[in-house]
Symmetry: C2
Subunit: 382 residues, 2 copies
């Protein structure tokens, strides 16, 4: 017996008939973001290696590479598999990993793509070098330096140099540069303060490059930067490669910070939901909650009626597992009963973990579904 | 080219070799919880219809039914499909829904299982009755009453009676009783206060039952109750059926409330993670963050070393997408570098949305993997 739920949408459907909840992409906004970041990186002569942890979709990676990206970043080894399978040729795993199962993934991936990875301790270098040599593959290594986030990464030049020596002693590893990513400053609200923080992180990276230089080690790649800091990183004179991810989509978190420079990103990612109950004045209940919206960076900051005539203005008040509580902003007595069945669009507070809840993007233009893209790296966190 | 990540675990593996992050079940604790709830419901002569939104696994539903459950609840129609496909005979969709795509799912499900659903407005009754009649199926309907949560459900007896009349006028619908669920009181910390709240919710349900009685309508089923209130609901004299879900697993949220009665639940669900970086004194970084732990109800409240000798005591400080920051509780200068590669067990703050991030449970007993159960309703929120 084949008993599976019907598809949420088919190409050609009206957006107003797409099943809810669905994760939707406004392709006009998406294309504008895609093109703007590519042009920006090209203009500044830095490589663009977008972070695929944001979209987890080989269809999107293909478009980014067609637009000039040199490859993608992944945050986990398992996450890299669908991109490798789809023909992405260059993948950087921007994270540390340990253990025999992880090493086995690394060498398998390295036999299909040009793989680079991060390390921040000597035992990782040795284990990786041994595994790569046994498998007959070569892996590029970019030691991570702590650019100020105090998460992963070496904390002093001596530790970096010891790791570089360790890489040099491994015939199957190749020192390719360093990673200096500071996630903690991406969402600094004040644009000038964010610029200053980015400058400090670049200074830290530069210090490590000078230490390598003094040892006669060329640092071909300095990779890092996110959507919040790329405009500063690109002109820092330090970074050679940028890793932004969220710029394609925007989200509540990035939408809430100051954008005083030339770069502007449009919201392209929305959860399509439906009012499914309204039995109390001024309140409505929609059909998406914690299982369709990541709330770690807050609830959706706006509720847009798909049919603009549906009004009145709503606030997304709280999320249960499969319910979203909506409240009229101004009319406490308004009866939403007649609006049951109407659709609303919700911008996620945080795009990355929201994307990770869905199996596909429903892409639309001019109110029609034009593409359905699988989120083929969904759930791949190993 | 087949290029997919290797499996996280195989039956027979040591738990200490399972790939991280993985969602694991301690089967001794799980079995104890399963048996205790079944015995509790049987002892009190109430039907047990566990909520499958908590576990989303037909393997677990099968075990619940073998242990005496009358069927399961689902929160969404699409969520019901894998349970129907796996042979669960009785499914209650404990939620409202609207729209042609949802009605199509309801009638398809009703042609395979005994389906009951909730409604809280007359148009839903009419649409459902028409769809069921056209498809030649019969659907049980349990109008939802607002037991105090102020989410879904009718808010007065007249509205309920109008809906019951509406159901009676539809040849393909059958009035089966009412649903009175109050999610807002499940986590009241003080046991006595929670008992009082549960009593108030039961009083509300009783009021609706009396109104039906006065109209000569028998209310065979009063369904509701969650893990936090079942001990009161079972003895209320009002509820005939209980819907708990989290009792199988427990989580940080339920672990933090008072349990003064006879019922005690053991933590059986843990995310297995690994220390993958430690370059700063007193700090370690593990490989699970927002994409493997739902944080809407808080971070993991404890960090257990899988190897008890690994010590020292840790606090899970904050979650990034794929990183968890861990901090030594007492030794600010301790160096975790030698503990990179060690595994830790993390109890999720909220089980339901954490389960929804994984494709399988790795089940273990005495340190060995004994079963791998697919989370076959993962992501099914339509």
């Amino acid at each position: 017996m084949t008993l599976v739920p019907p598809p949420a949408a088919r190409v050609g459907d009206s957006l107003a008939s797409v099943a809810t909840p669905s994760l939707t992409i406004d392709l006009d906004a998406f294309d504008a973001n895609l093109a703007a970041m590519s042009a920006f990186a090209m203009r500044h002569g830095v490589a663009l290696r977008p972070h695929a942890k944001a979209h987890k979709s080989s269809e999107i990676a293909r478009r980014q590479i067609e637009a000039g990206a040199v490859g993608v970043c992944c945050q986990k080894l398992s996450e890299a598999y669908p991109f490798a399978a789809a023909g992405v040729k260059s993948i950087h795993v921007s994270n540390e990993f340990v253990g025999v199962d992880k090493l086995a993934m690394a060498v398998e991936l390295a036999s299909h793509v040009r793989l680079s990875v991060c390390v921040d301790a000597l035992p990782q270098v040795q284990a990786l070098g041994d595994a790569a040599a046994r498998a007959g593959v070569t892996i590029d290594v970019l030691p991570e330096v702590d650019a100020g986030q105090h998460r992963c990464g070496v904390t002093n030049e001596d530790a970096l140099l010891a790791i570089v020596d360790g890489i040099a002693s491994q015939s199957a590893l190749r020192f390719a540069g360093i990673q200096a990513y500071h996630g903690g400053i991406q969402h600094v609200i004040d644009w000038t303060a964010r610029k200053d923080e980015a400058s400090r992180a670049a200074d830290v990276a530069a210090r490590y490059v000078r230490a390598l230089d003094a040892r006669g080690v060329a640092c071909a790649i300095v990779t890092g930067g996110g959507t919040g800091t790329v405009e500063f990183d690109a002109t820092s004179g330090v970074f050679t490669e940028l890793q932004p991810g969220s710029y394609l989509f925007m989200d509540g978190d990035y939408g809430g910070i100051g954008w005083s420079g030339d770069l502007r990103w449009r919201h392209s990612l929305f959860v399509l939901s439906m009012i499914m109950s309204a039995t109390r004045p001024g309140m409505a209940v929609c059909d998406v909650g914690l299982k369709g919206l990541a709330v770690d960076s807050g609830l959706p900051r706006s509720v847009q009626w798909l049919d603009a005539n549906s009004e009145p203005a709503l606030t997304y008040l709280c999320a249960n597992d499969e319910h979203g509580m909506l409240k009229a902003q101004r009319e406490p007595e308004v009866d939403f009963a007649e609006r049951v069945g109407k659709r609303v669009l919700l911008p996620p507070g945080h795009c990355d973990p929201t994307v990770n809840l869905y199996d596909e993007y429903v892409c639309h233009r001019n109110g029609r579904v034009t593409d359905i893209w699988p989120i083929d790296a969904r759930g791949l966190s190993r």
